[in-house]
Symmetry: C2
Amino acid sequence: MKTEKNKSPYVTKQRRIILSFLEEQRGRHYSALEISDRLKERGESIGQATVYRSLEKLESEGLACRLYSGEGQPACWMLCEKDGDAGERHYHLVCRKCGGLTHIECEYLEKLAPHILAEHGFTLDPFCNVLYGLCRSCSSDE
Amino acid sequence: MKTEKNKSPYVTKQRRIILSFLEEQRGRHYSALEISDRLKERGESIGQATVYRSLEKLESEGLACRLYSGEGQPACWMLCEKDGDAGERHYHLVCRKCGGLTHIECEYLEKLAPHILAEHGFTLDPFCNVLYGLCRSCSSDE
DNA sequence: CTAAGTGCAAAATGTTTGCATACTT
DNA sequence: AAGTATGCAAACATTTTGCACTTAG
């Protein structure tokens, strides 16, 4: 259940570039377009389609994960931080108003995934969970 | 903080149609296109743009809420179930694989929103919160 | 009468796909 | 040599916008 379906991917230049970008930006999340722009800036342009395809591949290998930031906004990607279910998870709070994405870790939330699995039979994504609402500053100017 | 910005909306035929569709389907969620199709079937066609605009309006009035079902999939809409922050919330589990949307209520989750507000200064959407992962059946055939 | 809502068609956005070419193994 | 990955441009799906027209207050 660990490496069975990962038939060692081709190591292409584009894969290396994307992977090293994400590694360098560990802990941050970027949309496919942002990634492609950043790479272009540094003269390592990669075709749009390839960026999407590579990210998807990295996700299916369990190396990267995708954050659904809400309709309209593009999905964001980042490297997975820990492997398997063991490590701590982190959650993301997405502000419906400003679109801001905050990354939090706390012990209450640590128990969320085990609870959902035990009580509701649903396996939460190990790395990227998103909750929607309003961030502090947006909720004060409502 | 309750009715201040709701300047009693125009009651148009289209608004009435959409609202009564959602009322009739209380507890279920539909994408804008589904709503528009359903209405067309029963001879109450409404322009696409109007459906989107009305739903958005209902959301801003706090009558309907939008569920971000994940990239690719369209947003879904449903009538809010309770008013204000007082009532119980419910959460949605969205399966990354089959796209299924399960609706759960439980006491552990009841405490989630107060926790997030108190500890992280973030106000979760009162009605629609979505967690991503794999549902029971999809996680067993992984 | 005025402000707001409607419908259509056109644009915008993010993502995917087809296909010929190039690269990895 | 066989199997993948790439890049481009075209296709897609969902949502938004511009604008002339209608309707509610």
